[in-house]
Symmetry: C2
Subunit: 233 residues, 2 copies
């Protein structure tokens, strides 16, 4: 297996994805939140880029639930923001979530053209690694980043997943992500630029929840054809 990591979301579109399993990572907080919402019983999610697109979908299907943030805050009129704790411990009887977030949605769309798109976060890192190993394809990891730039926590999570995959061949970005994972203790991710930002907004509980490791067996996948995603397991 060959593995590569696209270290910056500004490089989405510049890498070869065909035939590869793409792993999209937005630890703070999109991929953590989607995993938590689905595990709480939501059926599926549909990521969109624009707030207008989300409203248009709800206009056509009023039962759709809207979730998303801008500048880390819930979009006015939406059912949910982008916090995993809005969903944690809930027991939904289904539900279709239309989501729009600053970084995560762009990363999912950046994975188009790959063989399969999987969403990962620290909570599901081990489950995702096992799933990717079973698929047996080359893998490309896409840390979602922060406002179009590199993010430490997403790249750290990519390195963590690589450490479990132990691929035979590592691209330069993958080598780097692995060193970042090995060199930075998990607790220090609180001090990443994005971690500091969430802290300054008082979102300590979200931060701690997103930093929990391997406590979920859920694997979220996204279907490029339908635009909907859900739990693969």
């Amino acid at each position: 297996m060959r593995a590569e990591v696209i270290l910056s979301p500004a490089e989405f579109g510049l890498h070869e994805l065909a035939g590869k399993t793409a792993v999209v990572i937005d630890v703070f907080r999109f991929t953590t939140t989607v995993l938590t919402a689905l595990e709480a019983g939501m059926d599926r999610f549909f990521p969109v880029t624009d707030v207008e697109e989300a409203w248009a979908l709800k206009g056509a299907q009023p039962n759709y639930l809207l979730a998303g943030e801008r500048q880390a805050l819930r979009i006015p009129g939406f059912d949910f923001g982008n916090s995993p704790l809005e969903h944690y411990g809930k027991e939904y009887s289904g539900g279709d979530l239309v989501c729009t977030t600053t970084n995560g949605t762009a990363a999912i769309h950046g994975a188009k053209g790959s063989r399969e798109v999987v969403l990962a976060c620290l909570r599901s890192a081990q489950a995702v690694a096992e799933y990717v190993l079973e698929q047996g394809n080359d893998v490309i990891l896409l840390p979602a980043g922060l406002k179009g730039t590199f993010s430490l926590e997403d790249t750290w999570c990519a390195g963590l997943i690589l450490s479990m995959l132990q691929p035979g061949e590592l691209g330069d970005g993958a080598k780097s992500a692995l060193l970042i994972y090995e060199g930075i203790p998990r607790e220090e991710l609180r001090q990443s630029l994005h971690g500091q930002r969430l802290t300054s907004l008082g979102l300590h509980a979200d931060l701690e929840f997103c930093l929990e490791l391997n406590c979920s067996s859920g694997v979220v996948v996204w279907n490029q054809e339908s635009g909907w995603g859900g739990l693969a397991r």
Copy 2:
């Protein structure tokens, strides 16, 4: 001193440069070649983006010398390609070099808006670190990358320079570059994507020359107003 590294050239334009010393790094081979040409006696260099722009400048000033590459090969009709060994050991009595290369020129232009632009390579890493320390500004390092994407050897060189600067505050990209430097032996940079590419083109001597460490005391700077650069020391 605060230090940051822009890990991908695709992020040029997304970072705050004002007031900072910008260090542009293109180990394979632009910043190595410019340093070597100036140390051999060239007076100054003028980086341009397009081949057409280079020809237009020479049309107006026929004594200008043209240097540059596309796909790592000398541009037809140009006086020089992008190899440091074309200049090494020469004793020029002055000369104005108009340069265009795939990655390095873009990185220099990506540094516009900073307080000062310095060019670094492995050969001049220590000299550049000493110069930057004397300036005393916050520093932002711009690895030039390869075709708009992350490059291991340029980021490694950024990490090396950081290890000598020992800044009080490191951004997330700077922390990462430092770990990449500490985790990868210099010899392994031959196996980077760009190193493999030069090897496949038979440019072994260039590769070895570019990988030599701290063997030059030259510091190349570029003036944003005039567009010309030269040796600061």
